[in-house]
């Protein structure tokens, strides 16, 4: 455990550097950074709305971070969690609209379907990289756009045809029986608990199972692994599939949660979501990096980013300051001492 904490130090340093630079930026713009952070934290942590937001964001962020971390352990970059999640979400929406199922069964069915769809989508990139040497970075980013495009189309064309949908609102609400159970007191869905469980599960999977071992071996040393009979191609694809599955779950969770019903749907109606850079998919990468690509660590990192996000939302300041901050933090995280220690990706010599 101490090893994990030790590797967190460089990321924490980067984090503070990032915050420091962001503060300087704010100061230049005439804002008082201390004020900003103070309002942020109090807004997030003391108001009931803030608290429930924190938990909701935290759940999403954790899952998105895991969607990046797990394939990363095999040496493959999954920058496509955004798209995978979007497809997961739209799958849920489709099921709600077209498949009548009894109350308890349908959420389970929808979630499983979303997971499968997310996994299939990421599998495309996984296979393309493992077997055709097409860089996953590129294909996952491209497929994000494709996913959003498909989702928008389905939403407006297919679902919009069947359900009364007023484009002005950001929500396509499903009705109360279609949401996931809520956690009492905080008025948020139980997704954050699910996320924590998935994080613990991922950590266990990677550290204790033979498949997890093979995945890590592929990422840390694909040549020695290959010479001992592990097939790096298969492992990469499997890792990607798992990553996509987690992202699909995140998408489903987002869409089905109370109050947060529709991050993603908001994108759809907005004329279309391509990159959605504020999107949780990309934030997930920042969360993962700050957590030094450690599954358990991502929970804590997610809490931090969730506070940031929730605080800004509840305080009324625009979300974009947070984006800028996230961007700066990511830039700092890219520094080699950090990257080497954090991300052991197999040599990217064959770029495409």
């Amino acid at each position: 455990m101490t090893g994990a904490l030790k590797s967190a130090v460089p990321s924490l340093i980067a984090l503070f550097l990032g915050l420091a630079v962001a503060s300087i930026l704010m100061w230049i713009l005439g804002l008082n950074p201390f004020n900003v952070f103070y309002t942020l934290f109090t807004g997030a942590l003391t108001t009931p709305f803030g608290q429930s937001s924190v938990l909701t964001y935290m759940g999403s962020y954790t899952l998105f971070a895991l969607a990046f971390i797990i394939p990363g352990k095999a040496g493959i970059w999954n920058v496509g969690a955004q798209g995978q999640a979007i497809l997961g979400g739209i799958t849920v929406a489709l099921i709600v609209t077209f498949v009548p199922l009894p109350p308890i069964i349908w959420p389970l069915f929808a979630i499983i379907a979303a997971i499968v769809v997310g996994a299939l989508w990421s599998a495309v990139s996984g296979v393309l990289e493992a077997y055709r040497n097409a860089s996953a970075i590129v294909t996952t980013i491209m497929l994000n756009f494709v996913a959003a495009s498909i989702a928008s189309f389905l939403l407006l064309w297919v679902i919009g045809a069947k359900v009364k949908y007023v484009p002005q609102t950001s929500y396509l609400t499903f009705g109360s029986e279609t949401t996931i159970p809520t956690f009492p007191y905080f008025n948020t869905s139980i997704m954050f608990i699910v996320a924590i469980l998935v994080a613990i599960g991922s950590a266990f999977f990677l550290a204790r199972t033979t498949l997890g071992y093979s995945i890590r071996a592929t990422g840390l040393g694909s040549r020695p692994a290959e010479s001992k009979g592990i097939n790096p191609k298969t492992m990469k694809v499997i890792a990607m599939i798992i990553g996509g599955a987690v992202a699909g779950l995140a998408g489903a969770g987002d869409v089905m949660s109370v109050g947060h019903g529709c991050y993603l749907v908001a994108c759809y109606q907005d004329g279309f979501a391509g990159g959605w850079f504020g999107g949780e998919g990309f934030a997930g990468i920042a969360v993962a990096l700050v957590a030094a690509n450690n599954p358990i660590g991502s929970v804590f990192s997610a809490v931090f980013f969730a506070i940031l996000a929730s605080g800004t939302a509840s305080v009324g300041q625009n979300v974009y300051v947070v984006w800028a901050m996230q961007g700066i933090i990511i830039l700092f995280m890219a520094a080699p001492a950090l990257s080497r220690g954090i991300i052991k990706l197999g040599g990217r010599r064959k770029w495409i």
Binding site: R132, G160, L289, L331, I352
Partner: protein, 308 residues
């Protein structure tokens, strides 16, 4: 048969091809030297913002030529950001992919913040734009198709880029550095300097692309959280699908531009429009999947260069 939709498609397509092709050419030069800049989108946003601001601020004083000031400001911003990126990549050996993602996220955030802070509106007010060569009828979509002088630039650029890479010393050095930096170093070429220069040059073109959008096409800066306004990723796709060869990249850019242009032309069923958004990307993924073994990116692309 009513030809208007086709004419419109061609016109819109060509218009949209301008930022795509310009940015793609810029990214091509950068990538030829081995630097992979996924942050094209962010650079375009920042340049577009800088251009809009410059355009607006000098609007009163300079009249219609403020647009050119805007373009220059945009190019300068592009050079600046790209140079910073290249510096981080070559001297500090940051991971280029992560840094690129960081730039993207940062760009959207910071421009919006600055916009709110200084202008308190959602788009910088319209000022002067580069005078179009001629317009083609009025149109209900709200963005009257006009043919910008930059369209000429778009067709000339690939020729310039090709000649630059093929016939000049620097161009040769760039191609060498991106393919086999060790060999280039052995031949006495300063790999780091070459890459910095190439990225700066590329940045100027990225900036031009971004500036075109805010100064000419939209005539305002539109914050773009969804990535639909500034076609940075489409440009990236064009470079890849065009196999890093200027003429093909231009071809792909025009093709992708047409895809974007479809959005404005398809007045019919609203939802189908969304499917057009994905065309450039589907095509690129398909190209990658099929021709990946034959596509030839610069071999050292994205790999940080460390001396012995």
């Amino acid at each position: 048969m009513d030809l208007t939709p086709f004419v419109l498609l061609i016109v819109f397509g060509l218009q949209w091809a301008i930022p795509i092709a310009t940015a793609a050419d810029g990214e091509l030069v950068t990538e030829k030297s081995g630097i992979l800049n996924i942050g094209i989108y962010g650079v375009m946003v920042i340049s577009g913002f800088a251009a809009a601001v410059a355009n607006y601020q000098t609007g009163q004083a300079l009249g219609s030529s403020s647009a050119y000031v805007g373009l220059l400001a945009g190019m300068a911003a592009g050079v600046g950001v790209n140079f910073l990126f290249a510096f981080l990549a070559t001297k500090i050996h940051v991971d280029q992919v992560i840094a690129g993602i960081g730039i993207n996220i940062f760009a959207v955030g910071i421009t919006y913040v600055l916009l709110q802070r200084f202008y308190e509106i959602d788009g910088t007010p319209i000022s002067n734009s580069v005078a179009p060569l001629f317009t083609v009828g009025g149109l209900s979509q709200g963005i009257a198709p006009k043919i910008s002088p930059l369209m000429v630039v778009m067709f000339v650029l690939p020729v310039l880029v090709y000649l630059f890479l093929a016939r000049t010393k620097l161009g040769l050095h760039i191609r060498a550095v991106g393919e086999n930096p060790q060999a280039a170093e052995a031949a006495g070429i300063d790999v780091v300097k070459t890459r910095l220069t190439a990225t700066a040059i590329g940045g100027s073109l990225l900036g031009l692309g971004g500036a075109y959008l805010t100064v000419d096409f939209f005539n305002s800066f539109i914050p773009d959280p969804t990535g639909t306004v500034f076609p940075g990723f489409i440009a990236l796709a064009a470079v890849i699908a065009g196999g890093w060869s200027p003429p093909y990249v231009l071809g792909m850019s025009v093709l992708f531009g047409a895809c974007v242009g479809l959005r404005f032309v398809l007045i019919a069923p609203g939802a189908l429009v969304y499917l057009t958004y994905m065309l450039p990307f589907v095509m690129t993924v398909a190209v990658l999947g099929v021709a990946s073994k034959r596509l030839r990116p610069p071999a050292a692309l994205g790999v940080p260069y460390k001396k012995e």
